[in-house]
Symmetry: C2
Subunit: 268 residues, 2 copies
């Protein structure tokens, strides 16, 4: 059973995952990070010991699991340094949706992925029970079961996804989170041009999400694009041209994409 | 005080607004619609009388307010027909966010707009208290106060917006509802290519919305675009090229737009 963990990273994922593990009674034996102030702070919060990423050789301590929660581009390098320090039976996972399992050094027999699918902000408390955890591992047997047991102690949603599935999920997450949030930002700039408060749109946004519980997105689609209301589409474009021409191409492309998707509907 | 209403239209807005008015004890004296079956059904639900839109001349009845809740392109024609039938002091409003007040025939001194800002589906119950109602009128005096009183009896959010503000709000609503919903549809197609259930994304979507309560959208922005993670962006594009090349231009345009918006950030 996994009881002790070394957490490498002090960014947003490390912060929230570390707290979730700590709250479940796991022992965080070391927090290893590049940024000495966030690493020290996180170690303090988790009753742990801070170690600089540049002093990784100090990290010769035993733990049941080593979690690499650093930026995607640093995973390979960190894991190959770890390979010099740890025995080959150490359980080493990364937390990235976009990084192959194979980026963890092949020295380790029990490589794994422990990917929490959520958008984390440092100051925003997250209920980890509601964060899907996507698992993968090259190994079979009891390491697999232990990884799953640990994930289930943190979250209600634990799924095993292979490499391809995880990559696709990460891509889809960009559309529903990053791009959606950007559209909110665009809307907020559009409103600001006429001194309208963005909060007026919040009930509409809430309903847009609530509909997902009952209808697949294509059936929930409304608006001028899907009903091919060319006169409104033209008025919107004229208005954008006046107030925020830099968003005209987004308007046109998404309108066209909606129309392409629904061009065979009888009932749009 | 407005007590009796003629409702023209039997579509989604007419349906939900009609029910909200009925639930507040307003008398719906007639429901006038083109589609005889939805009009008859709505009249039945609202203890009203159904009148065909082609038999508008039958609509010679008195009411305190006439609500034109038909498609945008039909508002001018319906209102000019009404102008032949009703006295010039009749209170006549339309419910469109995208239509100028002036599309209501100038015969009417008390033209107005009564625009509920929400996405309505026929089978989805809506809590009208949470639907912002945007008002406008050319007239001053007691008609203005009565319009506001009626709106406040239906909703917690009543705002007066002029022509330009309403147009801008309607445009912003397209971004946060129509376009966002389309992105959900794109994500769902991307996931379907590897047999992943869309519901796995729902906690992420919920958090994307929840962040709006604490952070302006630009500060909530995360992901490869804003952190300029070119390696992930390239992997995403290769993947899209394989599974859904028709969405590649959306990915590229929104990524670029996020980067343009944040290019001056120190802290992205």
């Amino acid at each position: 059973m996994i009881k002790s963990i070394v957490l490498i990273g002090s960014g947003r994922v490390a912060h929230h995952l570390g707290h979730a593990l700590y709250n479940q009674g796991l022992q965080l034996v070391q927090i290893v990070g590049r940024n000495s102030s966030t690493t020290a702070q996180l170690a303090l919060e988790l009753e742990s010991v801070a170690v600089g990423l540049d002093n990784l050789q100090l990290m010769d301590i035993h733990a049941d699991m080593y979690i690499i929660a650093v930026s995607d581009s640093a995973i390979a390098k960190v894991s190959s340094t770890l390979a010099q320090l740890l025995p080959d039976h150490a359980l080493v996972v990364h937390t990235s949706g976009a990084t192959p399992l194979s980026k963890i050094d092949r020295h380790f027999k029990y490589r794994g992925v422990f990917y929490p699918l959520q958008t984390f902000s440092r100051d925003q408390v997250v209920d980890f029970r509601e964060v899907p955890i996507c698992l993968d591992t090259a190994s079979t047997g009891h390491h697999r079961a232990e990884l799953e047991r640990l994930a289930q102690s943190l979250s209600r949603y634990v799924v095993w996804l292979n490499e391809e599935q995880r990559a696709v999920l990460h891509l889809a997450a960009v559309f529903v989170n990053n791009f959606t949030n950007h559209l909110f930002g665009v809307a907020s700039q559009i409103l600001a041009s006429k001194a309208i408060n963005f909060s007026l749109l919040k009930p509409l946004i809430a309903e847009t999400i609530r509909k997902l519980d009952n209808l697949p997105p294509p059936e929930a689609q409304t608006g001028p694009a899907v009903r091919n209301d060319q006169s409104t589409i033209e008025k919107h474009q004229e208005l954008l041209q006046q107030i925020h021409p830099e968003f005209l191409d987004i308007y046109q492309l998404l309108t066209r994409s909606i129309q392409d998707l629904h061009s065979n509907d009888q009932n749009a």
